[in-house]
Amino acid sequence: MIAYLIRRILYAIPILIGVNLLTFSLFFVVNTADDMARMQLGMKRVTPEAIEKWKQQHGYDKPLLFNASAEGAKKISDTIFFQKSARMFVFDFGSSNDGRNVAREIQTRMMPSLAIALPTFLIGLLIYITFALLMTLFRATALDMLGVSLCVLLMSISGLFYIIGGQFVASKLWHWVPISGYAGGIDSIKFVLLPVLIGVMGSVGASSRWYRTIFLEEIGKDYVRTARAKGLSELRVLFRHVLKNAMIPILTGVVVVIPLLFMGSLLTESFFGIPGLGSYTIDAINAQDFGVVRAMVFLGSMLYITGLVLTDISYTIVDPRVRLQ
């Protein structure tokens, strides 16, 4: 198990290097640092001196990959690639355009993101699976038809509609909760409630339908027939047998996203004014703060790969037949 994990983590390194190279070429080769400086300073009447100054301030005034004018090891290390891209491996994300340290910013913003994303994830999972099990229980009846039609309808509605509509109804019409904002500690509940609700609502259609397909696939298998032949009640078959055996396909889709919960949701956070990583990313995109976007891309892929490893581990927990070697 340990050996497997080490191998898995080693395998992640080339992928992270690939991600790093990809973002590097996307951000520095497609456009030169001069172009970025010009975008930041405004397109018209920018003096070359101002561009040079901006580049110097943000550390973009170095050669891309190889610094011929430097000494010794600095030939490699005193370059944009090393300073801006390679250092992300040790979680040094540099600073944003307004001079703040990105790594610290990420640390403080993780909690609010998690406060929204984690409840959304857990409550969502519970509701989707329950809903899907109910549809499976009443499969091929009018109730199942109704459920599936409802799912298709719900998944055809734009996520923006849930947010805008939810904010309008809950905050503006009924004055349940504040429209947006965030506070730490126990106060956060009233700010978190609506985003969580809307987040759960937003994917109820697609997710329930997906779980239903998984359950239906399981229910056609032989062990289910055996269980029924033993005289077990349908409910017991569903919960004790089908649910357990459907764990592998469920975990495949679910565990991967757990680390990504840290990243928060772009839409929800920006609509509800939650100071998490999602709104941080959106602000960075709107302000064209490339340093922050680059850091988030790298962080995101790192978390995704962690999720893949966690998925493998979770298989061993639910299925004794799976051994990691």
């Binding site: 996307l26 456009n31 055809s156 923006l160 056609g220 064209q288 976007v293 995101g300």
Partner: protein, 482 residues
């Protein structure tokens, strides 16, 4: 002067591909079979009909031109810098009747109060009359409701009549063309069997999908009639901040949605097909490289990758203004780039599926037989592998469409979507979202954008389900068990 923008070219290419595929399939009964299964489901057919209405608007909006200006400079015709489409020309009324600012749907008065000079020289604050909406009414407060009701009824009736007329004409035309090929059994042609004009409907009405189709067509005709009749003198869905008709904006958005939904898959298909099959068939280091490639791409959260790529593309376009003759060409290239980027981020899923399927197929007996006969690899791929993974491709394409349309709105909100000057559901929602706080609320722009999007995506989802049910052999079995 006709103008072919990049996305126009892509759409025409796509259209040509679809037509060619249809002609090719028509001759082969085993390929026609699943489509006949699609044709037998009423939900699928009805959603296809709704979709085709959207596609029609989109296609009309794809044929672009630049109008010639009346004055000529030394003998040469000068063209306007504004790129218009055939749809713009048809909807000239909707396009040109702009008000001052917001007005509610079917209103005769402006949304905001203004100082109006009365006939006796005094100035009072009141809601001014609209320039076009309900301008034909002498006293809107009294007449508006009656007029709207009258126009609705008349419009519905006229629409119904035109619809029936078109169906009868269509029926006759079909009858005329398929007289020689009577034994084909699709719905439209069944009518022609007993060859007695309109009376065949009673027979065709026994066919459930045909009945559903007919009813939907007539309902759509009525709806179109009502809308057309009302839109002639009112703003059916109100006007936006600068007074543009929201109905026009929403209809224009359809093309953007369709382009995003279809061109993206068109762009990504060659990659996914080529790499997926290559990885599965050749295995070894080719497989390793391709797997590495898609693992890297799929490990970046897609929104972030799209955001990063779009930001870079924005800078690139800003830096090269000399490339673009018109602002439409610029906005269009941005749309194409967005499709490209979306394609790059979404091909990994299909690629993985195709690789898995090819891995499975290459162990099949008939492939091994072909290999034993000494058939070349390229021929095995084109003759045996590609046709047998096509159902996966088709299912992926139709399933992706609706999620791409939805994604466009989100991306435009995030600020990495289409050009702000391109009309799309995302830009519509974005522009209207801040107006929810107003008193009284400006709800119609949002309602129009969400409504159109819902109908489009719902129809696409239902059609995709119908196609999947007809093509996916695995799914048929589970459905049967259920």
């Amino acid at each position: 002067m006709p103008v072919i923008l990049w996305t126009d070219a892509m759409i025409f290419l796509l259209l040509a591909t679809v037509l060619a595929a249809a002609l090719w399939i028509r001759k082969r009964p085993h390929l026609v079979l699943p489509w006949q299964r699609v044709a037998k489901g009423s939900v699928g057919m009805v959603s296809l009909l709704v979709l085709s209405l959207f596609v029609l608007v989109g296609l009309l909006d794809t044929m672009h031109y630049r109008a010639a200006l009346p004055e000529k400079s030394n003998g040469q015709t000068v063209y306007s810098a504004e790129v218009l489409s055939v749809f713009d020309a048809l909807a000239i009324g909707l396009r040109s009747r702009t008000e001052k600012t917001y007005s509610a749907p079917l209103a005769a008065y402006l949304y905001a109060k203004e100082s109006i000079e009365t006939t006796d020289g005094k100035i009072r604050r009141d809601y001014p009359r609209l320039l076009y909406g309900g301008a034909h009414l002498a006293d809107p407060q009294r007449e508006l409701q009656g007029d709207v009701l009258k126009r609705t009824v008349v419009g519905a009736l006229v629409g119904l009549l035109i619809g029936i007329f078109l169906i009868v004409v269509g029926n006759t035309v079909i009858r005329f063309f398929v007289k020689s090929r009577i034994d084909r059994s699709s719905t439209g042609q069944e009518i022609s069997k007993d060859g007695s004009g309109i009376f065949t409907f009673t027979k065709a009405m026994k066919n459930k999908p045909f009945r559903a189709l007919l009813i939907t067509a007539l309902l759509m005709a009525m709806l179109l009639g009502v809308t057309a009749n009302l839109a002639a003198v009112y703003h059916v869905l109100g006007t936006d901040k600068v007074g543009q008709d929201v109905l026009y904006l929403a209809l224009k958005s359809i093309r953007t949605g369709l382009v995003i939904g279809t061109v993206t898959t068109l762009v990504m298909l060659p990659f996914a097909l080529l790499l997926g099959i290559a990885a599965g068939y050749m295995r070894g280091w080719v497989d390793d490289v391709i797997q590495y490639l898609y693992t890297v791409l799929s490990s970046i959260p897609s929104v972030l990758l799209i955001a990063a790529a779009v930001l870079m593309m924005q800078v690139y376009i800003e830096m090269h203004p000399e490339w673009f003759e018109t602002s439409a060409a610029r906005a269009d290239l941005r749309l194409l780039f967005l499709c490209l980027i979306l394609g790059v981020t979404s091909w990994t899923g299909l690629c993985r599926l195709l690789r898995g399927e090819t891995l499975k197929l290459r162990e099949m007996e008939y492939i091994q037989a072909a290999q034993a006969f000494g058939v070349s690899s390229s021929r095995i791929l084109t003759r045996h592998i590609v046709p047998n993974v096509m159902h996966i491709v088709l299912i992926a394409v139709v399933m992706d469409f609706s999620s791409l349309v939805l994604a466009e709105a989100v991306l435009s909100y995030v600020g990495v979507g289409v050009d702000p000057s391109t009309m799309s559901f995302g830009t519509l929602i974005n522009s209207a979202r801040m107006e929810m706080g107003r008193e009284p609320m400006v709800w119609w722009t949002l309602a129009a954008a969400f409504g159109f999007m819902l109908v489009l995506v719902l129809a696409a989802n239902l059609f995709a389900d119908a196609v999947r049910d007809a093509f996916d052999p695995r799914l048929n079995r589970t459905e049967a068990v259920a």
